[in-house]
Amino acid sequence: MNKHFGENHVLRDIDLDIHTGEVVVLLGASGSGKSTLCRCVNRLETVDSGLISLAGVPLPDEGGELARLRARVGMVFQSFNLFGHLSVLDNITLAPTRVRGLSRHEAAERARQLLDRVGLADKADARPVQLSGGQQQRVAIARALAMDPQVLLFDEPTSALDPETVGEVLDVMAGLAADGMTMLVVTHEMGFARRVADRVVFLDEGRVRETATPDEFFDAPRTERAREFLSKVLSH
């Protein structure tokens, strides 16, 4: 696919397959188009040309059919974006009840299981403001999981967190990966990328510059741009 913001050609001939159960980590310098790529995948951003398909079904540009398919593509944002007026439980049950037609009871039961899975079983009735950043992000992951997504997108899920809470979110994500969730993750956590990714995709000025296993990419990057990038992010 290709994407412009005005004159700015942000995504250039991106051609990417993510296989079921695969964890792909998207790396690249600031402004290289990582967020835009993530947002295009579930059509939060329109693309100028190209096709995005989910399990072989192309996502339409807009309308009810898009909403239906998009429900199966979960997204976790850097800024959590929990619904401020709803309790933690209602944040998680809103989409399952309204979009998938689950009863309140079914949805709440499933929500409690998910909260348990992300280690927040006791926070069901809390408001988002009452939670730490790491807790909010774990609720956001539970909220995305509640729709039984076929793939989860993460756009720098730990960048807005205090260093001491980063680990708790990464642990949840590593757990999902181990359970076979298909994931596309933008992150600056190189340790996580190395440990959890099946494949690293290096984005540079809107192009996929390099695709490799984490070991190949971190130990022996093939391109000059990737070496520069790694020397910057690994030096501090």
């Binding site: 939060l44 998009r70 593509v73 619904f83 989409a95 956001a140 909220r143």
Partner: protein
């Protein structure tokens, strides 16, 4: 004049009832229509957005008195005959709806963008996103401006006197003609208007505290 206290009180009372009824109708109508127009103005369908924008431009830029005259004398010319009170209330509702629309829009804009994106990413459609995520959080910043619109709406009902509705101001004019005491009758009316607007200011304050969303 004092011998007529009962009669005067009765007339002002009837005027007040009409004023209250007209305010209630016009404001309720304005909120309903204004909400719909605001939804049109932010919906993904371009022609509907254009219609919403056109509506606001038209109704916000015609003086209310002119609008009342057009409705009261223009509609019958087109063969549309409605009772005077209903005609005037409708014109006012449509006029104030343009202002309500802009308040709703700015309230919606005050909700962080990420809220709508999270809702869309979860598969909620435009209407569901608006109803369950955006509007509940847009209400609080809307309360005070809506209170101002209510006051503007209540006071603007006095223009109805100019097209022949015997509401509060109409009654004041009538009493002026009858007893030749313009200052007294308008002073009395003013007291009633001020009581009405002060009350609505208090109500708006209470409502605002009630709908506070903790962030």
């Amino acid at each position: 004049m004092f011998t007529h206290v009962d009669a005067i009180a009765g007339q002002l009372g009837r005027g007040l009832l009409l004023t209250l009824a007209m305010t209630a109708l016009a404001f309720t109508g304005a909120v309903a229509v204004g909400l719909v127009v605001a939804v049109l103005r932010i919906c993904p369908v371009a022609p509907l957005r254009a219609f919403g924008a056109g509506y606001v431009t038209v109704f916000r830029n015609i003086p209310l008195l002119v609008l009342l005259v057009l409705f009261v004398f223009g509609l019958p010319d087109l063969g549309l005959l409605y009772p005077l009170f209903a005609t005037v209330s409708t014109a006012m509702a449509l006029y104030w709806a343009a202002f309500v629309c802009e308040v709703v829009r700015s309230g919606v804009r005050a909700v962080p963008r990420g809220q709508a994106e999270a809702a869309r990413a979860l598969g909620l459609g435009f209407g569901q996103c608006l109803r369950h995520v955006i509007l509940p959080q847009a209400v609080r910043p809307m309360v005070q401006p809506l209170g101002s619109i209510f006051i503007g709406c209540a006071l603007s009902t006095s223009l109805a006197a100019a097209v022949g509705v015997a509401e509060l101001t109409g009654q004041a004019e009538f009493l002026t003609l009858r007893y030749d005491q313009p200052l007294t009758s308008f002073a009395l009316t003013t007291v009633v208007y001020v009581a009405l607007t002060l009350t609505s200011g208090l109500v708006a304050g209470r409502v605002e505290r009630k709908v506070a969303v903790v962030r």
